[in-house]
Amino acid sequence: MAVAAPVASWTERRRRTSELRTRQPFVRQVLDFYGALLPVQEDAFLRAAADAPSPDRIASYVAEVVVPRVLDVSIALGPDRLRVELISRMQVQDPRDIVERWIAGEEQPVADRFLARAALGPVLEALGKEAKAGCAGPRDALHCPECGGPPQLSYFAKAAEDLAAGPRQLLCARCASCWGYPRMTCPSCGEDSTGKLLILSEEGTSSGERGNVVRGLPGSAPGRAGESVFPHMRIETCESCRRYALSIDLATDPQAVPVVDELAAVPLDLVARERGFTKIIPNLMGF
């Protein structure tokens, strides 16, 4: 079975988690827990790539092999509410059902969804298209072409040239696959009237405000970009569906790892929520 994502990506996630833990102490509680979860997820990724469970056995494989380890680390190091919820859920719910409901795209209690996502995610990442094809969900532009999951976040890839803007990519909340998506279109409802797509970001962080017209190049203006907390991030909102997604610009910060940066941007989630927007889907940590 071919490995669908490079193992290095786990190294990158660990590196970025460690960086942001220092740089953004306000989310240390989230990143400490995520950092403890990452080795479990990486191990699940490697084991799944080696074991190559058949697509019809994924839920039982995840429930048997990965869920116990995710439970161990979550009960040992997770926040109190998560620990209590998981212990209580395990007394009444079969882990396999929890994973199957996430695969089927059904509504779940937040603790169940955390457990299913944390355990199934790395397994789907390790397996090929055949495994992801068994997941429920539409295969349209608004959903992951591989597993049908909703987009967790949006990011601008680093372009190969300085004078080029990178294309927009969406990252799947379920299997972490990426797909290209038009830049000025809502990833939740497809609205493309740009007047309805307000972008919220910290003042002073756009290229023009930094004194350079080229995205990603340092500017000369004494703007506030140096003081900003999230110079490479923005909140992409939609007036039509009142949803939002966070977007990460890899040209502005090539060291960013979208899946980690999105978890660490809780203040931006609070800004969006305060203005009445709801995230397309909460992230692994429930924000």
């Binding site: 926040p79 509504e107 937040v110 959903h143 004078l163 080029a164 740009t194 972008i199 970001s201 924000f287």
Partner: protein, 187 residues
């Protein structure tokens, strides 16, 4: 997929109990200076390739619109996010602290430019056009056909001309009898 934000919209915390992160992030959020902006499609004015642009603008509370950034549109099949060095500076066509804000005139024999008024410059241009036109106007060609053309003046339009500016310039120059008209955007 039915899974979405339902069931979480009204929560003030993550639902998993990250209360410390929530409280600390709330303090950070209060100090963030957040501004709203929108993106718009546009097209580079400079040449006939017609590269697609994304213009990033902010609507300020005083009603003014501030242009923040212009860059290549990565979704365009024409340029796929790329711009040439001239197009990449398209923002400076609209906003540039180095813009020359008055006409510059260098008199015959002078060694430098000096700033002059628009009244002076428009009069000077009109006088020069009239002098050249009067001196070089051709009423009939070699075979006796009436042509009424001015061969001593040529006109070159700038690349950033709008369609309306181009139309106006062409009408004016044809009216003067000019036959040598060119436009950089035609290149």
């Amino acid at each position: 997929m039915k899974v979405g934000a339902a069931g979480t919209g009204g929560l003030v915390v993550s639902g998993l109990g990250f209360d410390i992160a929530y409280a600390d992030s709330t303090k950070v959020k209060q100090n963030l200076r957040i501004a709203g902006a929108t993106e718009s499609h546009s097209i580079c004015p400079y040449c006939a390739v017609g590269c697609s642009l994304v213009a990033y603008t902010r609507h300020n509370s005083d009603g003014t619109v501030q242009l923040l950034q212009i860059e290549g549109d990565p979704d365009s099949p024409v340029n796929e996010g790329r711009l040439c060095p001239k197009g990449a500076t398209a923002m400076q066509l609209a906003v540039s602290p180095r813009r020359v804000e008055s006409p510059q005139y260098r008199a015959p024999g002078a060694t430098g430019w000096k700033s002059v008024s628009w009244d002076f410059m428009l009069d000077k241009i009109a006088q020069n056009i009239k002098a050249s036109r009067d001196a070089t106007f051709v009423t009939t060609d070699a075979t006796g056909n009436t042509v009424n053309r001015c061969e001593g003046v040529a006109f070159a339009g700038g690349a950033a001309f709008s369609s309306e500016e181009g139309y106006l310039a062409t009408k004016l120059m044809r009216g003067l009898g000019l036959v040598y008209l060119e436009q950089q955007a035609r290149v």
